[in-house]
Symmetry: D2
């Protein structure tokens, strides 16, 4: 990952600002012959798009994706696929305040310090609107995965909102699409609704933890020691707006375990190795084991809140700011489809990298 591009073989370059004419992604290195339609990509974009319920920003963006290249007669040609989304609801408003003041917790001050110029309208390039391009590209990755790793599934969901974690004994995957929080715990969904309503009304915000799982992924993906699958996943997730922590398997909790407690014992099953547990999150030595690949990431609370905060102006005066505007009280919610998209892209990329070096042929066991 560097600049505005990620991926080694399956490579995605995104462009666009929050309040510019639009945004997009050039998806390069996609295998040829993958069925791709705007409709199929739209399905993924619709899950992320704003204004779908009272918990997400009320900006009205249809996030309609247009395919401008790389797809011919319904399938990918192997050449760059350009996905474009034009912005619609760039509400004309008075930007004079955020033009002069740096919003705490936002990238306003760092963009200014780095570049000496910034598109202050809605955060410009640092806005989470950029993630629409990730989701569109992730849709292409999913379509390619369907061909290359049949049975592969990628699913994200929320496991914590503010201090409230889900009860894993309530875990029901069918619930995930049934509530605005993408949570598998129906009780949590109910509790969080009330909790978030309160925060929203008071103009506050809260963080969240998202878990993304990739199932039925072949063993052997990942390239030690710096091209590790988990290193790429960590970078991919950390690059999502507002993410402050990334975990694989046990994650930070692994520190508290003993060697016995952390061991995923192996026995021989009918169709290959079986593991007694998955503390490793499906990755050993940077290479996938064939178990579920489990990644979690923490999203900080939305920095735009109604409580006044101290800040400074471009001319160096200390002042206060209240960030009005249309914002998400918990940006973590819309991070769920984004995390899935990053997982899909990274897994596909490593499938392609693995078949480059090894031909995708596995060392035999048994």
């Amino acid at each position: 990952m560097s600049h505005n591009t990620y991926g080694h073989i399956f490579r995605v370059t995104t462009w666009g600002e929050s309040h510019g004419p639009g945004l997009g992604a050039v998806v390069d290195g996609c295998p040829p012959g993958v069925p791709i339609t705007a409709e199929a990509l739209q399905r993924w974009l619709d899950r992320r798009k704003p204004g779908q319920n009272r918990y997400t920003t009320q900006r009205r963006e249809p996030d309609q994706v247009e395919i401008l290249s790389g797809v011919f007669e319904g399938v990918s040609t192997g050449t760059p696929i350009h996905l474009e989304i034009r912005n619609q609801d760039q509400r004309s408003k008075d930007y004079s305040e955020i033009m002069e003041k740096f919003r705490p917790g936002h990238a306003d001050i760092t963009y200014w310090q780095k570049y000496g110029i910034r598109d202050y309208r809605g955060g410009g390039r640092s806005s989470a609107r950029e993630t629409a391009a990730r989701v569109a590209a992730g849709g292409v990755a999913r379509a390619a995965l369907e061909q290359l790793a049949p049975g592969a599934e990628i699913q994200g969901y929320m496991v914590q909102m503010g201090p409230h974690q889900i009860d894993r004994s309530n875990f029901d995957a069918d619930q995930i699409e049934q509530n605005p929080f993408w949570t598998p715990d129906p009780q949590a969904a109910q509790d969080w609704a009330e909790y978030l309503d309160g925060l929203r009304k008071s103009g506050s915000s809260v963080g969240a933890v998202i878990e993304v799982v990739a199932r039925n992924i072949p063993a052997g993906l990942g390239a030690p020691v710096y091209g590790k699958l988990d290193a790429d996943l960590a970078a991919a997730m950390m690059s999502i707006n507002a993410v402050k922590g990334v975990e694989i398997g046990e994650g930070m909790a692994a520190a508290a375990l003993t060697g016995e407690g952390n061991a995923d014992e192996i026995t021989m099953g009918n169709d290959g190795p079986r593991y007694s547990s998955n503390h490793a999150g499906g990755i050993l030595g940077g290479i996938s084991t064939g178990q579920d690949i489990v990644v979690r990431f923490a999203v900080k609370p939305t920095s735009s809140i109604l409580t006044p905060r101290a800040t400074i102006t471009k001319s160096g005066e200390t002042t206060e700011i209240v960030t009005k505007g249309r914002h998400d009280p918990c940006v973590g919610i819309r991070a769920v489809p984004v995390g899935e998209a990053m997982m899909a892209a990274v897994i596909l990329d490593h499938l392609l990298l693995d078949r480059a070096q090894t031909g995708g042929i596995r060392g035999p066991i048994g």
Copy 2:
């Protein structure tokens, strides 16, 4: 990061196996004119080298580094610096057990599944011996940083061993070099010594959390949206052996905060912006703020333990394994200098990247 190389401009490629003839790093893209001597690099290597106390593996490796290129008359020439360490203590032993059986928690099975061949002696390429090359390269990065960011400091320390966290009110930076655990809390150092003795004697192991701080780093480093400084740090730390989680600033705990609680308010100081707190860990929108850059990572417990664990053989039979050999009861200890090295390399790399694009000139405030 890809294959066995990391970095964009300051680029490090490592090679070598645990029980082969040696290991090394090619450090490319180093600025010219940086004073580099084997002695100075040795200082950093000595902090990581095994066998220094009863808490680290008893393998005897002097880890003596030789500079084979790229340094002339004591300073870097701008051409690749090759650092080489020959292995000394490749104890001749019977490898027949681990040749046939996959040690749970190790990369044995995944290397086999990916490559269909593996150097099973001591873990081969997946051994933590590789990190000696990182530390050597990190020494070069530190020397270059001294010139490009005078006053920059990079310091790592242990903040948790097993379930035992340090008491932040005991934090004393001067203590870090005074105990075998690199911990700033003298009370924790005492408690952990006893705790780890117990684990060592019982042939068990435990995880740890390391924190690495970079101080006096200029604002403006990092390149959104995929070349973010935190994305590169996440990948760098996750690529270290046995790491399962990476946090920036508040990390996973950010999820539990509200927007008010997480806000780092800004006021104008004499020499630039001042922040009321550092929940962000010194990075906003992927770009450094000038505050301390704070990264934490969790190291899982050493997988080699004396308790028998179920596993399978290459020929597909379920069996048991006990991993004897010379191992660390808490590999987290030796991960401290490794984390520092990765921090130094990433920061330097982003300094160079920033001066490429912007010339290192900052947008004026005030």
Copy 3:
């Protein structure tokens, strides 16, 4: 360079097909604060655009560029600049012949063999229409160069059409913009007009040699031994459609020289080293000397001709093909602005790379 991206720091990714909705370039890594307008870019695009005289394809494309991101209030922000050109004149026609038959000399057969699918309309991705995106991106590079290397000039011109070379003693830079062939030799311009008219009428085509010179470029650009300035220039020029050879300075003719004949002797001038000649083409050991950087490349004759040629069909039958359509009798003409664009992008990229590693500070002489 890889996939559809070139450049290290100043990085350009292009997309689009000849007869799709459009094409574009994402220009990433541009220094901030560079004045960029659609009008200024249009100036460069207009030099390449088709249908300007009877010697270039009669396809009517205004090649109007739209800037969709990365420019705010008239200057670059440091974030990706997306340049887009919508296709206008995708004349509806019968593609059934080239859908089934592979045109000799075109990429039809290799795209088919590689991808198993191809957008056969007008050559799809392999069409020279892609070079419009290069020229647009080159315009951004020129604007940045103006700031970073004041006085830098990049100029391309034709030095050979078919077997007819210019007479260097007629060289008059002011003539270059005065004739449809971008040639500095007014006599050649006259002769070639007649020559090319004959070829055009007979449905034939011919090759050409283009020379591109970069003047007032600082010494010190280029990074041995694989990041050499000339290696990047060679790749950049060879990547242009129909190019079959690239030369630096003396080029292929260097083979025939002796050491004495090839020596560029150095004396000390008032403002630095002076060279008695420039056989080296401004590059020694992969690094610029400060002399003119001189690159030449050969463009093969347009493969689309009216004389029937043997070829095969997708179903494997030998047949014949005549390529009608709107084509250039000498594609070399429109390659002039493309070569300039590639030169500008490579030079800028190496300026940025150099300032990354060395800070752009030169070793003092005298």
Copy 4:
């Protein structure tokens, strides 16, 4: 290619100076299971090594390669292969002259201007000794090619020395290994011997043209539009010391052809497409056709000659220099195995890249 690394998947990083302790190559991304021995690599190195006859430098270097990692029980493991060659004959001599004076035609002045420091002993990093590392790495590429593209052959030879071209009607591949010039024309070998003896005795030097052919390479290698096979070949060859021009197929001569003259007509053979000729040099649209891949490059005359040349000193005085020392009167001779090595590495790399994106499956014809 960037810095001191080339290749995308099969990636080679070299290090080392002419008169330092040694040099080497880290070969990363090699497929696992490839038989590799020091003896087999030595065979290729012996073809390049100096002092083999009176036409190459009399420096005595055995160029003995040591494999320090990445090979286990005789085959590659998929992890980095480190190849190391220690320098032996760093004749102690007086470097005071070239320490102060820049040799014309050498990289002395540009290294100084870029880095402000240079290892002046024997040219340091810019010495052609670096190419020993290329040849060693090329040996690994050849071994891998043998597995992945059975029947693939790579052969280089000299087609021009000074102004004297071979007579293509004398072409006899069996002659190539029979003369010190690697030329297929026995008459040329005889003539050149006399010619070069004269030059050598007078302390002069001369350039050469090398042709490298890759036979039996599958169609479909190369990735438009910037990852073209010919773009990578051009960069690879141009990166070799003293190379000033690169041609594919017809090369610069393509400019003089008409469309009819340049057409490689296609007919259907028993085992696929057949071409009436190979003006394209085996590459169309940046992708291999399955024909011979034909690359030529020009090597300039050795810059070290006995005739005094004007130059300047570090302190800015104009003076004269005569370059004594042990040099090749025609460095082109030893460039033959180097060109082969670069061809092998690029072809292998593109085989791996192609199987990444497409799985190596070809679109069917017939």
